[in-house]
């Protein structure tokens, strides 16, 4: 499965970038996230509940950040597995400073999905992924608004 998209954050690039390195912010933004713990500077452990059509299950896995170029870009490597299969994906995230206190986030990525998630949920995965991204960005917008206003 391939993903691609962008989102406009109403905050300067440094602030947006910092938020992406904060497990509490990310954990709060991802729907179904039950646990997100920072292991070291670039690794997180997470437990996530996912529902795709008739398939629903908990996935546990790791999130690694590599090729971190603050505040411009980061590569995310996700590996998770659970009762309904496995996900292995890589995402490339770029933060573009638009100069007017806003930041355009652009992402592309590819995920390899297996097990029930693929064999039964495949038809719905694209739309579930899209709606998940939408929710994540909406929540991050809110978190950002609070942080940005506080500072």
């Amino acid at each position: 499965m391939k993903v691609e998209g962008d989102h406009l954050f109403k905050a300067p690039r440094e602030v947006v970038f910092e938020m992406f390195n904060d497990p509490d912010a990310l954990g709060a933004a991802v729907p179904g996230m039950q646990k997100m713990v920072k292991i070291d500077e670039s690794h997180y452990e997470a437990v996530l509940g996912i529902r795709v059509g008739p398939v629903s299950a908990n996935f546990s896995g790791t999130l690694a950040l590599t090729d971190v170029v603050p505040p411009e870009s980061v590569t995310l490597i996700v590996e998770g597995k659970g009762g309904a299969g496995f996900v292995k994906g890589v995402g490339y995230v770029k933060f573009e400073d638009l100069g007017d206190q806003t930041t355009l986030l652009k992402y592309t990525g590819e995920a390899n999905i297996g097990g029930t998630l693929a064999s039964v949920g495949q038809r719905m995965i694209d739309s579930v992924a899209k709606s998940m991204f939408k929710t994540v960005f909406e929540k991050l917008d809110k978190i950002l608004e609070e942080r940005w206003q506080k500072s």
Binding site: F86, G114, T116, S119, V120
Partner: protein, 784 residues
């Protein structure tokens, strides 16, 4: 044998009343007191090395009785038997046997392969325990694409082989290259035949119950191969065959995949039952059925046909890739069927065919209704269409020119088939079938009136006209035992199991006529190994021909015994005795008679002496094995219309002409053909198993695997029995199989009609599975 009181008549199926009113037991209706439930934890990965499987947490769950991984089976774990031997009858054939393992050890080879068996008080508990099992694997790239896998040795399904080659079999008749030198026209194409499921309504199931006191293993299984299971379980557990009793309940459809054995259930569950001394039950769910029960088709053909200017075929070449899946326990039945059926109804003097059977990280391939025949027929029929276009003649003309005539049979094609015997086209009138079909569908009228009128109105309508054969009734043998009981009722027992084919009716028709009893008084028992323990299994459309012949022969033996016993008791010569309904009587004196039940008692004396050589009872066993299979044949015509907006084809009319020799029951034959046609339509327009590049099956539910509905059947369907005189002489009753015929010709007939409906230059369909959007893709290609 000619028509009798029952034989040849459309007798209503005797089994239907109980089946339709819910008074029969299917697999999941069977409950054994004290039974435990098994669930198989299956791999999410298509290809991976197993590093560790930790079940310790799962064992703590209340209700979990035991969990087994490959290691726990110790020496009992081993790759299963080769169920069909390699084709050594074909010179130079290469075959790498890598048989199915009952549970993955060290390496996972397809998504759905079993990793652990959980035994618990209920299926719910067993499946819940999956969540507590920790599986650590090292994923490997998956082998999915057939052509690529043949060349590329960088990823191997079986590490101990130098490549992914499962088999390489070449057969040549005449010399294709010589023929090509003389040809006026050479046409070549690459075509795909898509992967489809058997998709029986009832999934598979298995119960193993060890009786420690009597030392007997009782097995209930909805299998096409009860006797194979009896033999394999006995061998594996070091028991005598008589200590294993396999019973098949009523079965909700077979269609091929239920012939497969040496699967996780039939290997592991008897061992576990013996170990735990408890009955173990397993019912497959639909996702398991899609992932891990066998399926078929999936071939890539590289065909070339060479002809004279006038359309005469000089030669045909077909190099095809055949997907065998991760293991090849079922040998080469399917691709060998393809090889024989490619040239099975036309005059093809020079033929070269090469099977490249490939291991992939996919489910195992075994026959599904049609079983390789559909693929061979599709390849030849499509190539004739392309050749006709090239030559500027009609698809009908090219077929009329090359179809075999009645007087050319029997014909030895020189191609060795799935039964390892040279294919003999024994009888039939292939050209006659086709001409009959042309006349019935009124081909000329469609061309001259209907199609031009439709086109003038802006409607797209097309016609397809193809021919086919169906190799059936292959050996080795089947048999049965017929017993007249003291109640006068007759029981026939055979090892041939039933999945819905009307065996209870058609065998009773044969016996009732031979013994002159009421058909209701004949009870047929199929697939109970304690009642009849010999036979090969239900496959290759061979029940009516082989078991039917055995029933006829056994009934004649019983009949002879009735006459000899009655002659003594009535003290009249045998010539003066006849069978009255349910009794034996003196000709012309119906009042001097003995009921068959009483005669059965008299044939089993309790005191006195019997003459040497006389066996007790009115009972006889007979077997029948043909020297070679018998080939059914026919033709199909289809008229389709295409929806202008969506490209969805509708089958307006279908005419099928079929020669299956003698018909025991026209109603049953018609039902078989209708069912086959539905499957053929599904395979052509709807059904498709899709694997992604990682070996993940993306169509493991009926949400994504589209089955044909009753409303997808032709608006108008005509089935015509067209028996050539020669067809009636193939075996004692002149019967050819018909179970797969309906599934074979719809593919090439429908695609030919779709192409004809569009009538667009360059619009060519090169595969079997056509969704409206694929039709659109082909149209786009044609426009370029």
């Amino acid at each position: 044998m000619t028509t009798g009181k029952y034989f040849g008549k459309s007798v209503l199926r005797l089994e239907d009343k109980n089946m339709l009113t819910g008074n029969v037991k299917y697999m999941d209706d069977i409950e054994i007191p004290g039974q435990l439930h098994a669930a198989f934890l299956r791999s999410d990965y298509a290809h991976a090395r197993i590093l560790k499987i930790d079940v310790s947490e799962a064992l703590k769950r209340p209700g979990v009785v035991a969990i087994y991984t490959a290691e726990d089976f110790g020496d009992f774990w081993k790759p299963g038997p080769l169920l069909v031997p390699p084709p050594t009858a074909i010179d130079g054939s290469q075959f790498n046997a890598r048989t199915l393992v009952p549970i993955a050890k060290d390496k996972i080879r397809y998504s759905g392969e079993v990793l652990a068996v959980v035994i618990a008080e209920s299926r719910y508990i067993a499946e819940d325990a999956f969540d507590d099992i920790i599986i650590d694997v090292d994923p490997l790239p998956a082998v999915v694409d057939l052509e690529k896998a043949w060349e590329d040795t960088s990823v191997l399904v079986h590490d101990d082989l130098p490549s992914n080659m499962a088999a390489l079999v070449k057969q040549e008749v005449g010399s294709y290259e010589e023929a090509k030198k003389k040809a006026d026209v050479v046409v070549s194409r690459r075509m795909l035949i898509e992967h489809v499921a058997g998709a029986a309504m009832e999934n598979r199931g298995f119960i193993a119950s060890w009786d420690d006191q009597n030392q007997v293993m009782t097995i209930w299984a909805n299998t096409q191969s009860p006797l194979t299971i009896r033999g394999s379980v006995a061998r594996a557990l070091n028991l005598a065959e008589s200590q294993v009793h396999v019973i098949t309940p009523f079965i909700g459809g077979g269609f091929g995949p239920k012939v497969m054995t040496s699967l996780s259930d039939d290997v592991l569950l008897p061992w576990i039952s013996l170990k735990l001394k408890r009955p173990i039950k397993w019912m497959e769910d639909r996702r398991e059925n899609f992932l891990a029960t066998t399926s078929e088709r999936d071939q890539v053909h590289h065909c070339e046909i060479v002809l004279k200017k006038d359309g005469t075929i000089l030669g045909f070449k077909d190099v095809f890739y055949h997907n065998t899946g991760a293991y090849d326990s079922y040998g080469m039945t399917v691709p060998l069927n393809t090889q024989t059926h490619t040239i099975s109804n036309y005059r093809v003097p020079n033929f070269y065919s090469e099977i490249r059977m490939v291991f992939t990280n996919q489910m195992v391939v075994t026959p599904v209704r049609g079983a390789g025949r559909s693929e061979g027929v599709f390849a030849m029929e499509r190539m004739l269409d392309f050749a006709a276009k090239e030559l500027g003649i009609s698809p009908v003309e090219i077929r009329l020119k090359n179809l075999l005539k009645a007087e050319e049979l029997p014909l030895n094609t020189g191609v060795i088939g799935q039964d390892f015997v040279v294919n003999i086209l024994d009888s039939g009138d292939y050209l006659g079938n086709y001409q009959k079909c042309l006349a019935e569908i009124d081909y000329d009228k469609f061309r001259k009136e209907i199609q031009p009128k439709a086109r003038a109105e802006g409607k797209r309508m097309g016609i397809g006209m193809v021919a086919f054969t169906e190799g059936t009734a292959v050996g080795p043998y089947e048999g049965c035992k017929i017993t007249v009981s003291t109640s006068g009722k007759v029981t026939m027992a055979t090892g041939y199991s039933t999945q819905g084919q009307a065996h209870y009716t058609v065998f009773a028709q044969i016996i009732a006529d031979q013994l002159n009893v009421k058909i209701e008084d004949v009870r047929v028992v199929t697939g109970d190994t304690n009642l009849f323990a010999w036979g090969a299994g239900t496959f290759a459309s061979r029940g009516a021909a082989l078991v039917g012949a055995a029933a006829y022969l056994a009934a004649q033996k019983v009949r002879a015994k009735i006459f000899s016993t009655a002659s003594k008791k009535l003290e009249v010569p045998e010539e003066e005795i006849e069978l009255c309904e349910g009794s034996v009587c003196v000709k012309g004196q119906p009042e001097t008679s003995i009921p068959l039940g009483m005669l059965a008692s008299l044939a089993n004396p309790m005191r006195g002496v019997v003459e040497p050589g006389v066996e007790p009872g009115l009972e006889a066993t007979a077997y029948y094995g043909p020297p070679h299979g018998s080939t059914g044949s026919g033709a199909m015509g289809v008229i389709v219309s295409i929806d202008e907006e969506t490209n969805k084809p509708t089958i307006e009319r279908m005419v099928m002409v079929d020669d299956c020799g003698t018909v025991i029951n026209p109603l049953v034959v018609e039902g078989q053909l209708q069912g086959g046609i539905s499957m053929g339509i599904g395979n052509t327009l709807y059904e498709r198993l899709v694997y992604d590049e990682n070996g993940q099956l993306l169509t493991a539910s009926f949400m994504d695997y589209l089955m044909p509905l009753a409303t997808d059947m032709p608006e108008k369907l005509e089935i015509i029995h067209n028996h050539a005189e020669s067809s009636l002489k193939v075996n004692p009753l002149g019967i050819k199989g018909v179970g797969e015929a309906g599934a074979i010709p719809p593919g090439p007939a429908i695609v030919q009609a779709i192409e004809d409906a569009f009538g667009v230059a360059g619009f060519e369909i090169l595969e079997t599975n056509l969704s409206p959007s694929q039709i659109y893709e082909y149209l786009k290609k044609a426009a370029k």
